[in-house]
């Protein structure tokens, strides 16, 4: 006999006014396996719980059914209560006779009949419940932040300030990301470098932070609390431990390469740092252009280095480290407009540049020391056209999404041109102007007052005529074609996910949406979490956003990571799937279903029948990743994989109980 106890709650009059609770308890006493049934005014109250505990002791009850409010309300309460008894807290079922009976039905007769049915179902199910034990996994108290832009920096600082060790991994030779390329930030026009470089210095000096530059994630094993990450350290060819960053080598290097950081507007040597304030402030050798590494000649840097830091034999190496939490902050790139917009010259015109190049032009530490000039001849432009939504909001040629920051930085660019070049004229071609942010609309207003001319319409064509760039488009407010002869054209291009973001996220079990932006666990309620436990999102990797939003999300992701790392151990729900390997045929149908990557096929070698060492596939469950949805169980025809707490046999018993 199962020795099931059934406890029917009155919930004051909530239940008892409609359901004949005594009749329900009486009916329960007649059910197979039920040894005891009682009713009480408030089961969830202190005396109610005590009554249940007493009944368990007195009647030797082994399994408990409580007919009361929704399990979403008090299942946890009663589970906690059972921990005080000898009964395993998972040998409990709740029959929801309040929300789904007394509150929705008025006829006492049918309501009572339904309540009895629900109790019968719960009794049938509880008889098949298994004792379960929540297990816990230890948490490695160290976070990994992938990406060293402002999002990664902010997240790393927040986690480190909370007292946890953080490793920040950046694939470029310096942290800083996109923000350090910018000149000023809207709407306050404070200097981007002035607010971001101190954070970078904080980073390098923080006792809890370890910086990994020129590094990539090569592989990941494990799951929440314990990710074992294989880190690939790319060769730097400069001993970073000894180098003081004196800069001798950079001065003497004979090689000239277009600087990516300056968007090709200047050159850099083959031994270089990304930008003057780079962190770490030490150069690395660009192996693709170094004469010594490519042609085995030169070797100047080695000669001029006073400390003997140069090591041409340096090699990429890989090593494993374990982390408890991961923040993905892989950032964004700008779309390659030259491949999309032939009508804008597809890159043939030197004076058609993108917004980031303009940032370098206008930046005091940039190649022109902040003078806005035409890249083609160095002359100061008098008429500048800014084209918004290049690549954005253009499903046919570009991307379907709005890149969110462009409206504002276009206004900022207009403002900067009008401020720096007296008498300059600025035309802004736009589809809509979107300024949803604190002080944003005001900034846009001011820019127009300053003289920027906003033209509503797309530029359909840019061509050269008499040394100037003719921007032709329709002014859709006037309903006619307009042509503007410009000296410089700035295309405010679309943000897109950084190259490799999807692949990197996939290593951690996180996914990207159809557009390549990393997928949050819930668009509203879990915006910084991913489907992979312990993996959080910060900044533009999740979708286009401006700096304030990026920083806010980074702190949010950090808070989640801190919450995880503050625990020594994490309790995992025991209501997850388990595989019976003897039955599993290794077909892999379940593996395709799991959204968390918790299932995998492994080869099992065992004696079977006449074969001493038979090899076959079986499914393995990663208990740290399984979230207990049970979708895989349906794909398993054998029933080899089953969901604890909701096993096939339990649900079938519930069904059977309804029809006797």
């Amino acid at each position: 006999m199962s020795r099931i106890g059934v406890f029917v709650c009155h919930c004051g009059t909530n239940l008892a006014s409609v359901v004949d609770v005594e009749k329900v308890a009486a009916a329960a006493r007649e059910l197979p396996g039920v040894s005891y049934a009682a009713e009480y005014k408030y089961m969830c109250s202190e005396p109610g719980q005590q009554m249940i505990l007493d009944a368990i002791a007195e009647h030797g009850l082994k399994r408990i059914v409580i007919a009361s409010c929704s399990p979403r309300m008090h299942e946890t309460t009663f589970r906690k209560m059972l921990k005080k008894s000898g009964v395993n807290e998972y040998l409990l079922e709740i029959a929801n006779i309040r929300e789904q009976v007394s509150w929705v039905h008025t006829d006492s007769g049918v309501a009572t009949e339904k309540a009895v049915d629900l109790v019968r179902m719960a009794v049938a199910k509880v008889a098949k419940d298994e004792p379960l034990k929540a297990s816990s996994i230890p948490i490695t108290k160290r976070a990994l932040v992938v990406g060293g832009g402002i999002a990664g920096i902010q997240a790393a600082l927040d986690i480190a300030d909370a007292g946890h060790e953080v490793w920040l991994l950046e694939r470029e030779p310096s942290i800083g990301g996109r923000m350090v390329m910018l000149d000023k930030t809207f709407p306050t026009l404070d200097c981007s470098a002035c607010i971001s470089t101190p954070k970078m210095v904080d980073m390098s000096a923080h006792p809890n932070i370890k910086l990994l530059t020129s590094c990539e994630v090569a592989a990941v094993r494990g799951y929440i609390g314990n990710f074992t990450v294989t880190i690939r350290q790319k060769a730097k060819y400069v001993n970073q431990d000894i180098c003081t960053g004196c800069g001798n080598c950079e001065e003497k290097c004979p090689v000239k390469v277009k600087s990516d950081f300056n968007k090709g507007l200047s050159d850099r040597p083959a031994i270089y740092r990304l930008f003057p304030q780079a962190v770490p402030a030490k150069p690395v050798i660009d192996r693709a252009h170094c004469l010594k590494l490519t042609k085995d000649r030169c070797g100047l840097c080695e000669k001029v280095c006073p400390l003997g830091c140069i090591d041409y034999a340096d090699e990429d190496r890989e090593y494993d480290e374990t982390f408890g939490a991961v923040v993905l902050a892989t950032g964004y790139g700008l779309c390659d407009w030259t491949a999309m917009y032939d009508e804008y010259g597809a890159g043939r015109f030197a004076d058609v540049i993108d917004g980031l190049a303009f940032e370098r032009l206008v930046n005091a530490s940039g190649p022109t020391e902040g003078h806005i000039v035409r890249p083609s001849d160095g002359a100061e432009p008098k008429t500048v056209v800014l084209v918004k939504c290049v690549g954005s909001r253009d499903p046919k040629k570009g991307k379907p999404w709005c890149s969110r920051a462009c409206c504002m930085y276009a206004a900022k660019h207009a403002h900067q041109i009008l401020e720096k070049i007296p008498g300059a004229r600025v035309f802004v071609f736009y589809i809509d102007v979107r300024t949803p942010g604190k002080n944003y609309e005001e900034f846009y207003d001011q820019t127009r007052k300053d003289g920027a001319v906003y033209v509503r319409g797309r530029v359909s064509r840019i061509y050269k005529e008499g040394g100037r760039l003719i921007c032709q488009g329709e002014d859709s407010l006037l309903g006619k074609q307009v042509r503007v002869a410009a000296d410089l054209v700035v295309l405010e291009t679309a943000m897109e996910p950084a190259a490799g973001a999807r692949e990197t996220a996939a290593l951690f079990g996180a996914s990207a949406d159809a557009n390549g932006w990393l997928q949050e666990a819930h668009p509203k309620l879990r915006p910084v979490e991913t489907q992979a436990g312990g993996v959080f999102l910060a900044g533009t990797c999740q979708g286009p956003k401006d700096i304030p939003d990026t920083v806010a999300q980074a702190s949010g992701a950090a808070a989640k990571a801190i919450g995880l790392l503050n625990k020594d151990e994490m309790e995992t729900s025991p209501m997850i799937v388990a595989v019976d390997e003897a039955k599993c045929s290794g077909c892999g149908a379940c593996v395709d279903i799991c959204p968390f990557g918790a299932l995998s096929l492994e080869i099992l070698t065992a004696r079977e029948g006449r074969w001493e060492r038979a090899e076959r596939f079986v499914c393995k469950v990663n208990a740290g990743l399984c979230q207990g949805c049970g979708a895989c169980t349906v794909a398993c025809r054998t029933g080899a994989i089953d969901l604890r707490g909701f096993r096939n046999v339990q649900i079938l018993e519930e069904i059977d109980a309804l029809w006797t």
């Binding site: 007649e30 018993e653 029809w659």
Partner: protein
């Protein structure tokens, strides 16, 4: 000798419908279903009180038109269910209630028939209560009433004026002979069991799919399983056919399965049909009806094992 005109054949069957539930055997399945059903409830248990109630095994039946080989097979089932020391109550009740009217084969029903190689005959059915044998001229059937139950049938037919004495000039048609011939092998049972470990069993079983078709169409397979199914407040204890060709048949609770390969299972089936039953009851279980040959989707043939035994 009584005689039934061919034109009265259907009437003869219909005349019995008042006194018996008349069962005309299926074309594919043997008539064992009427005595040993595919599935039957043995007893129902009240899940609260634990009180059990036997389900009972029905009233009077009459199997009409049973083939002689199948009648012989019923004799083998009797040996297993009634004469082995334990009397199976449900089988006994059904058997007691059943009257068997056999119809001797005028022609050989299937090229796979080999009853006359297994000691039977297309015309002889001593286990039957009544045997209908076609007259040589095809006009009707000579009737042999072989038991009290048979006499009861005779009374009904007489009362309905359906039968009369067999005209003197008529005689039973001679028994046809099966086209599939299997040589009688002296000591077949001993020879086959002695060859238990022979590698040829594996060769015989290679083409076997492992379905239970041969056992379900066999008139002499009587293995069963007993199960329990909860139906709300009551639990049905039921018995259903089982098949030694299924791995689950010998599966033990701890996971071990002594007959884990299909070779072992096929060997067991063949040996049961040709040796084990003989050792225990002194008669070969296989009656040569040919159904397992006819219905095997992969063309397996039990007579191959007999031939092989001959060469041993």
């Amino acid at each position: 000798m009584m005689y039934l005109l061919k034109e009265n054949f259907d009437k003869a069957r219909e005349a019995l419908a008042g006194a018996y539930a008349v069962v005309v055997p299926d074309e594919v399945l043997p008539p064992k279903d009427a005595l040993f059903p595919r599935s039957e409830t043995l007893y129902e248990t009240d899940r609260r009180t634990g009180e059990a109630r036997a389900a009972g095994a029905g009233g009077k039946t009459l199997l009409f038109g049973v083939r002689p080989c199948d009648a012989r097979a019923i004799g083998n089932l009797d040996a297993a269910f009634l004469e082995s020391g334990y009397v199976d109550a449900n089988y006994a009740q059904r058997r007691e209630n059943a009257t068997i009217v056999a119809l001797a084969c005028a022609q050989i029903p299937s090229p796979a028939c080999f009853c006359d190689s297994m000691g039977g005959s297309p015309h002889e059915a001593p286990e039957a209560d009544v045997v209908l044998t076609e007259a040589a001229d095809g006009s009707g059937y000579a009737l042999d009433f072989q038991s009290e139950k048979g006499s009861a049938v005779a009374e009904i037919w007489k009362a309905a004026d359906l039968i009369g004495p067999m005209p003197a000039h008529l005689e039973k048609a001679p028994a046809p002979t099966c086209t599939l011939k299997v040589n009688k092998v002296p000591d077949l049972a001993q020879k086959l069991t002695a060859a238990f470990e022979d590698g040829l069993w594996e060769r015989l079983a290679e083409a076997c799919l492992g379905c239970g078709c041969c056992t379900y169409v066999c008139p002499t397979c009587y293995c069963f399983d007993i199960g329990l199914e909860n139906r709300g407040g009551t639990a049905d204890t039921f018995r259903c056919w089982d098949s030694c060709m299924f791995p689950g048949y010998t599966q033990m609770a701890g996971g071990h399965n002594p007959r884990w390969s299909k070779t072992q299972r096929l060997r067991n089936r063949y040996l049961h049909k040709l040796a084990y039953f003989d050792e225990r009851y002194g008669r070969t279980l296989c009656v040569g009806c040919g159904r397992c040959i006819c219905r095997c989707p992969q063309g397996l043939d039990i007579t191959r094992a007999v031939e092989w035994g001959e060469r041993l």
